[in-house]
Symmetry: C2
Subunit: 295 residues, 2 copies
Amino acid sequence: MPKTFANFSVNHLPKVEEMMLGFVRKYAEEATLAQAMTYSLEAGGKRIRPMLLLATLDMLKQPIEDAHYQVAGALEMIHTYSLIHDDLPAMDNDDLRRGKPTNHKVYGEGMAILAGDGLLTEAFHLVTQANIEPDVKVAIMQELALHAGSAGMIGGQVGDIEAENQEITLDHLASIHRRKTGALIMFAVNSAALLAQADEATRRHLSHYAEQFGIAFQIKDDILDVIGDEAVIGKKVGSDEALNKSTYTSILGMEAAKEKLNEHIHDALASLEAIKVNQPEVDTALLVELINKLR
Amino acid sequence: MPKTFANFSVNHLPKVEEMMLGFVRKYAEEATLAQAMTYSLEAGGKRIRPMLLLATLDMLKQPIEDAHYQVAGALEMIHTYSLIHDDLPAMDNDDLRRGKPTNHKVYGEGMAILAGDGLLTEAFHLVTQANIEPDVKVAIMQELALHAGSAGMIGGQVGDIEAENQEITLDHLASIHRRKTGALIMFAVNSAALLAQADEATRRHLSHYAEQFGIAFQIKDDILDVIGDEAVIGKKVGSDEALNKSTYTSILGMEAAKEKLNEHIHDALASLEAIKVNQPEVDTALLVELINKLR
């Protein structure tokens, strides 16, 4: 039976979710806080980041262990906190996320801020408890902080806010999204390479794959914001335009954006082929399927 | 010349501040984000947490090194992020902090939320770079996440918000403040004991000192909120009453609160004496002076 992402997900995603939810419930002493934190974790979503991490480990022939679910769960917790804070009235002011009321709509703004702070802090806490060699664990936490922090995701979010109501260049847009969405996707792949202690060449090809993945992911997101189905994307169509945000489609136009998306997918696939040149036995099927989903 | 806290501070505090500010400036890629993060770090304050950490290391005969400034700086960055978020309109809605406009008053709510997120994330990032044995470093990051997270400071802040406009018992109040203010004070002392690899008995006595310190610190804060000098405390007197918050003075009355403060200081001093029973050569002068400052 060929390996498919659907099968892989069925096996592994529930364990990532158990790991996150169990950990949050164990340490959140106040009932309301635990509810606010788990509400957004349970709101689902594609779980693309943790699954990308686990699929990369699988490609690198690592049997998936609890420690991997812990790092994958920490990554999804960081992603989830960023959504809670981004949705706040002081930022994107969204009422709906993944088809459900946003965290602050249910728990109030103060609690949503604290639930986000809690998820961010507990993400690092979760990694400290994973059964990983201390030096590798420190390297992973360093990579996580670098990509989630002010040189990564947070810097990208600031850049995004500051670019509202402005005409920006394609390079500027790319720099924002390399950090805002690209950084955590990069962490997903890089941390798997660290955990598997992959060789230098493989790490380089994987990083290139992740970089292309991040850009393709954002272009697709921008396209769906124009032509998507609200029931599928779980939020209002046209929200970028409403916030007067520059996007790949607003700068390039729809057709050129679609072409650019295909180019980045093509580049990502080429990186996987490059890994196979030296290691023909490697099974890249999952990572191929994941990037092709963005078409 | 006897060792005084003033001399100790003059030697070490500038290095903690350099470490924090240099690190934040290095990684915050967006200029506004860097400004918002450093604005609150530079607003000063008593720096009681990092100095308690360094004073404990000094008592344990550790020469103070860069790694220690890094952990102390990370602790102050976590404390600072918590102040930025607590001051937001959705929480305590404070316009002034340490006599200066609060972060969101200067940079707006969205940026203040992100500056807080950035300081929290970069705090962990800073510790990952410290020159500490990987297993000790992981232990310190675990201790930091535990005390700053939902079982610690964040849980305490949630408890505090939920107790507004309610009559609560002294035990409930103590449970809130053991986490809200006590947890980071506990981390200051415990992380120093981890860094110095202190023996079990010394750690226990130090933990007891930190616990008493945390309670005494909060009682003093509550007393100053009633009878303090606005110019000295840097915020409006009477803000607890305005928010209808239960405090040690509102529950016990001023005289009994002062008495309780003295009891906890006495207990903290007894813990230091207990360390000297087995190690008469230990110089507890700085920790004695620090707790006596709360009288």
